[in-house]
């Protein structure tokens, strides 16, 4: 029984790591700053959620689970605001938009 619970937790953590990898690949491969931002923020938040869920299962304590929820929710707010501010800054600085470039 314990083994099964542990496996579930580890699988969740690994799934979270996969999302992080997706975010990093997006950051490295996508053509313009906006799509990189999009890939990074979304994937990393999902990754953090899965990691937090997995660790909550592994820790098996309500206190820890609560702390992890708080970390994730604050992280969500912080990531949303940071991403918004950076995107806004890039737009004001007139960074090019890859798809519009190709349309021309």
């Amino acid at each position: 029984m314990n083994g099964a619970i542990e496996t579930v937790g580890l699988v969740l953590v690994i799934a979270g790591c996969v999302f992080y990898a997706a975010g990093t690949i997006g950051l490295l491969r996508f053509p313009d700053v906006y799509s990189r931002l999009h890939a990074l923020t979304k994937a990393d938040n999902q990754g953090l959620l899965l990691v937090c869920l997995g660790l909550a299962v592994l820790a098996g304590s309500v206190q820890v689970a609560f702390l992890l929820i708080v970390v994730w929710s604050v992280g969500l707010v912080a990531a949303a605001v940071s991403a918004h501010l950076i995107a806004r800054h890039a737009r004001h600085a007139g960074e090019p938009h890859a798809s519009r470039e190709t349309e021309r």
Partner: protein
């Protein structure tokens, strides 16, 4: 080789690579960003070395606050003003760098090879700790066993602020360029994050007697809150230090001196902290003092006032 050592090696390599990039020139902005990431990795190293107290301080100060300070100063002195990043013939510098680096390596490795003496100061601290009523050995060293050092550290911080005020001269308070208020998310960020910051700071302060945390970590978090409020324009820098500001800036040092001298009057040796109440009192005063000092240093201002007033 265990997974742990693999993690250490990756962290170590990343630290070296980052530091090399930071010092070898190029875009100054890029190097400030790299320096911030360097701080984050140092915080991870403290976590690996089993020093969560330091990880807390490094995360808030080393990575966050120093980075924000650098970015703000970079903006104040104008964009890339750097004409020539490095001198032309760095040969001598390279030799000196290799020599000093090797010296550190030799000293460090030799020190690692020395057998730890059985009654080292750290062990003595752990032995004497139960008598102080504290559970966190680092807090014990800072406030009880080496309280004088910490008191003088408060003096150093005060001198740094006075120095900055002097340099500021009669110039206008530092132009802190606020984030545009039309950005709707910034307000909600403050509503969510500021109260949590305060909670975390107080939690760290109270937990610091028994668990990792304490006045320095708490003040770092509180400074973060202050910096956020300055950056969003909730707090405005002013050119005059009000009475409350002056009082708060010296509060940490004053609390230390008063409690330390008071112990002398009631028959203890001077600088003896006679109970956990004294620790809490001094830590609270220190937290408020340091946080205000750092926020003022950040804003390059003599005082702060609320947005409406």
């Amino acid at each position: 080789m265990t997974v742990g050592v693999v993690v250490d090696m990756m962290l170590g390599l990343a630290l070296v690579a980052l530091s090399l990039r930071v010092v070898t020139g190029g875009s100054l902005f890029r190097d400030i960003v790299l320096f911030i990431l360097f701080g984050l990795l140092v915080a991870l190293s403290w976590a690996r070395l089993g020093a969560p107290d330091l990880a807390l301080a490094e995360a808030a100060i080393g990575a966050g606050l120093t980075g924000a300070l650098m970015l703000m100063a970079y903006r104040s002195i104008g964009a890339d003003t750097e004409e020539r990043p490095v001198r032309r013939r760095p040969g001598v510098a390279l030799v000196v760098a290799v020599l000093t680096g090797s010296l550190v390596a030799v000293i460090g490795l030799a020190a690692l090879g020395i057998e730890r003496v059985p009654d080292a100061a750290g062990d003595a601290v752990l032995e004497a700790l139960p008598g102080t009523g504290l559970g966190n050995a680092v807090t014990g060293v800072l406030l009880v066993f080496r309280g004088l050092d910490t008191m003088l550290e408060m003096a150093v911080l005060l001198v740094a602020l006075l120095g900055a005020w002097t340099v500021l001269g009669d110039a206008r308070p530092g132009r802190v360029h606020r984030v545009d208020r039309r950005t709707p998310l910034v307000g909600s960020l403050l509503t969510v994050v500021a109260p949590i910051t305060l909670l975390v700071a107080v939690h760290l302060l109270l937990a610091g007697t028994d668990a990792p945390g304490g006045a320095f970590q708490a003040c770092a978090v509180l400074t973060g809150c202050g910096v956020l409020m300055v950056l969003t324009g909730t707090l405005r820098p002013t050119a005059v230090a009000g009475f409350a500001t002056r009082l708060l800036v010296v509060a940490g040092l004053a609390a230390f001196v008063l409690v330390g001298a008071g112990a002398g009057f009631v028959g203890h040796a001077p600088m003896t902290l006679t109970g956990t109440w004294a620790v809490y009192l001094i830590e609270t005063a220190m937290m408020l003092s340091i946080a205000l000092t750092m926020t003022l240093l950040f804003a390059r201002a003599r005082g702060l006032r609320g947005e409406g007033s």
